[in-house]
Amino acid sequence: MNFLIKLQSLDRRWIYLLVALAIIIPLLIPFDSKTYTTEPVENIYQKVDSFSGKSNKAILMVFMHDASTMPELFPMEVSVLRHAFERNVKVFTICFTPTAAPLVDYAINTVREQFPDKKSGIDYCNFGYKPAALMVPMVLGMGEDISKAVDIDSEGRKIANLPIMQDIKNYNEMNLIINFSGSDYGYTWITYARSKFGANVAAGVTAVMAADAYPFLQTGQLLGMMAGLKGASEYEKLDDVFASYKDANYPSGRPFSKEIINETIANDTFKISDQKVYAFKKARIGMNSQSAAHILIIIFIIIGNLGYFIEKSKQKQDQ
């Protein structure tokens, strides 16, 4: 009992040390935890999958963050890019903050290491950094004609002249916008691109923002959502189970199926250790540490509350 009361005055730096150990140990000694997928993430996956191999369909990835939220958002971006490259889906990328510009290149280059045949201007196109003040006019302009609204890409090429623009004109073709942000949930895209042009909007958000985004998910204004590291780990898992799966029946990846994903979880197939590329399992490795840290925090909360109530009852007895 006295031990629990003493813990009330424990130096907080010991707690920091324990949290650090709870995170570092699972990184050093990785284990194959199960990754359960949820509907909001599966919806995004299925939408991207439905564009597979179609020259008149594309996705737009909007990078609205800087390096500070990379641990949560970067694995999502890598997973979506990997899915698109794996399934031959045309990808456009754009950012409206200067500090996001190098992150777009970093994400594309990370995935291209495994897909060296993917070419800029043919399979993907980086619109690059555009001033935030022009965001609304561009979002509205892309509803009419993307090549007029954006004009040039990050390499200074006229977008209208790029091969990737064949069969792509506006949101009818570029019909999925995934907004990755640490501070909003694609509000501008929902307000202008979805309301006015009916574009499908999905969000990759930091866990802090997830609670704010749920009303838009519930009303169907967001097609799907990846929330924090957990959302990223789910998409990684879906990539492994479907897009990257190759056998005689499915030479270019198999289509999404709820039964298959449930079966892989039940049978514990497609383990984290089966994936050899570190960038494609980074979120799942991180989730091992996340689970350990959460368990530790729950224990701290229980111990803290026990100590508080014991101290309170002791004070009452003394009175």
């Binding site: 730096r13 920091y16 949290v19 650090a20 995170i23 570092i24 990184l27 050093l28 990785p30 800087d66 500070s68 939220t69 990379m70 641990p71 949560e72 200067p98 500090t99 510009a101 690059g128 950094y129 555009k130 001033p131 003040a133 022009l134 609304v136 040039i152 509000y187 929902i190 307000t191 202008y192 979805r194 309301s195 006015k196 930091t206 866990a207 802090v208 997830a210 609670a211 009303p215 838009f216 519930q218 009303t219 169907g220 204004q221 929330a227 924090g228 590291l229 957990k230 570190y278 980074k282 490795i285 991180g286 540490s289 996340q290 840290a293 959460h294 925090i297």
Partner: protein
């Protein structure tokens, strides 16, 4: 070689920032100020190259579209924000900014209010829709202050408080997850990218 050096510099700066957890110190302050300086130093030339050059310099001086001088001039008025006597001039570019806000009002009304209301009015088909119905009604009752929160009305508004507390709890839980994720990201960098200990 470059990657090794950049990783070492990043690792050192990460440790400087983490040193704040022990106590405030000059290393932490150095890293903090360096971050602000580097961010600004990086952003200014990038914005100059990707905003000023293509949207101001090129159209006016190379494209001879002199009409662009008008918005450029209005934009320059922002600088008067720093002048005590002429700060009123900076309100003119703000007016144009507000026009964009005005344009968004009807569409925001749709996404933020009308669609949300329509969804809240959906028929109760399962336990989830019943909980949404109950939560919406009781929270609205809690925020109705023209009636005293006593008796049966008070009990319902209390249910609203519980719904809000659960909401705040979920939100806080997500916040904890986000902060831990950031720490994981940095430790993954230190343990994996710098020390190469993650297999």
């Amino acid at each position: 070689m470059f990657e090794t050096i950049s990783n070492l510099v990043a690792a050192l700066l990460t440790l400087f920032i983490f040193s704040f957890l022990y106590k405030e110190n000059p290393f932490y302050r150095f890293a903090e100020h360096l971050l602000v300086g580097v961010s600004m130093g990086y952003a200014i030339p990038l914005v100059y190259n990707l905003t000023f050059i293509p949207y101001v310099y090129q159209p006016i001086f190379l494209g001879h579209k002199y009409v662009f001088i008008i918005p450029a001039f209005i934009g320059i008025l922002y600088i008067f924000r720093f002048s005590r006597n002429y700060s009123w001039l900076s309100r003119y570019p703000i007016v144009f900014g507000m026009a964009i806000v005005g344009m968004g009002v009807p569409l925001s009304m749709n996404t933020q209010v009308l669609v949300q209301m329509r969804s809240a009015m959906a028929p109760i088909q399962d336990i989830n829709s019943f909980l949404i119905f109950l939560g919406t009604i009781t929270i609205l009752m809690y925020f109705y202050f023209s009636k005293a929160h006593t008796g049966l009305y008070g009990k319902f508004s209390k249910i609203g408080v519980w719904f809000m507390m659960i909401g705040f709890g979920a939100s806080f839980g997500y916040t904890v997850m986000a902060r831990i994720s950031l720490l994981i990201g940095r430790l993954q960098f230190l343990v994996g990218d710098v020390l190469h200990l993650i297999k």
